[in-house]
Amino acid sequence: MADPMRIRANMTGDKVEVKVLMAHEMETGLRRDAGGNAIPAHFIRNVSVTYGGKTVLSAQWGTSVSRNPFLHFRFNGGKPGEKVMITWLDNKGEKRTDEAVIAGGG
């Protein structure tokens, strides 16, 4: 099973600042192993972030997003103590959903 994401969601002013790290190979499909065999592509294709049941970001990715992907964005209207939920889905159908509580900012 896929590993949990590391999510940081913090209020900065009236915005929620979200930083997330995902554990994923992001294998391009273009590399070969030591035996010369192609290593099959394995990568996250979809990411969606929801808050209060509403999508605040959705992304489609190709194979050139770096291994163990990092994503940083901001949205308005979030409140400390509420949850941000993030889901990724890869090309092999593996899926992972994690959530984080929004921390109050200074």
């Binding site: 190979e25 394995h42 770096s66 163990n68 990092f70």
Partner: protein
């Protein structure tokens, strides 16, 4: 943008020593390294390692929570910066990785071979996918544990133990090995790490006999290497340097590897530990 750069080049040309192109390159590489600091995937490994420490594994279905890393059974906080050290139960000087292998044997019931089978995680670099211990995308329990245990010494002072005669012997042997030149390229550790302010390509090389350099180097391993998309341990660092020195393979947790690490830890004494870091 081109024109700006040319202009900047003309201005920089009035400065001595470094050519403008060199100055720009160094400055931008520094900026790149700064940008990487924003987020370090080592966290993902640390989280797994913390779980694995508590996970019952092996023939004895036991966790590592009673493992003695030198500060008493189960003490993880601050353990990394006091290693390598002499352990009476094994009669050996051990670094973190060889010690974890010991605990996997004594507590979890693995054979010594099993405990050392896959010390490094699968590599993102096709160049070295031939590593027999791992394959692409494979994980290493050892590496994950190392990530977490090292992170539990973050901010602490590097203070390896050097009071036992065997610790001193390891230090002195490590120093000799550091200067040992051999192989088809005549390399030794000292070839790349004996002078101040040098680089391979654009990668800065620490001079290991210079305390500040050694502190920075030792204090930032283990590290997440973006070039390979993997977390790398100090044992791996030794293994990989030795491979590039064109030597035969340095065995994981071998006495030579531990002697070298002991030497480096002692050179870095007094530095602040800040790992797992993120690196090229």
């Amino acid at each position: 943008m081109r024109i700006d750069r040319v202009l900047a080049g003309v201005l920089a040309a009035t400065l001595p020593c470094l050519s403008p192109a060199q100055q720009d390159t160094q400055k931008e590489i520094e900026r790149y390294r700064q940008m990487l600091q924003e987020s370090n995937p080592a966290e993902l490994y640390e989280a797994r390692g913390e779980e694995l420490w508590k996970t019952r594994r092996g023939p004895r279905n036991a966790s590592l929570e009673r493992c003695d890393l030198g500060l008493g059974p189960g003490v993880v906080k601050g353990a990394y910066v006091r290693l390598p050290r002499y352990f009476a139960d094994t009669g050996r000087v051990q670094d973190l990785e060889s010690r974890l292998a010991t605990c996997m044997v004594t507590l979890q019931g693995f054979t010594p071979e099993e405990a050392r089978r896959k010390p490094f995680s699968g590599t993102g670099a096709p160049m070295i996918t031939t590593d027999p211990f791992s394959g692409v995308g494979q994980r290493s329990v050892m590496t994950d544990l190392v990530a977490w245990i090292a992170s539990e010494s973050r901010g602490m002072t590097i203070a390896p133990s050097v009071s036992h005669p065997k610790e001193r012997l390891a230090y002195q042997a490590g120093e000799r090995l550091f200067y040992y030149r051999a192989g088809p390229y005549d390399f030794g550790c000292v070839t790349c790490h004996g002078e101040e302010g040098k680089r391979i390509r654009l990668q800065n090389l620490p001079k290991m006999t210079n305390a500040k350099d050694a502190q920075r180097a030792f204090g930032t391993w283990p590290g997440y290497r973006v070039s390979e998309g993997e977390l790398r341990s100090m044992q791996w660092r030794m293994w990989e340097c030795v491979r590039q020195m064109r030597f035969p393979e340095l065995e994981f947790a071998s006495d030579a590897s531990i002697a070298l690490i002991t030497y480096l830890a002692k050179q870095a004494e007094g530095g602040t530990f800040d790992a797992p870091a993120i690196k090229r």
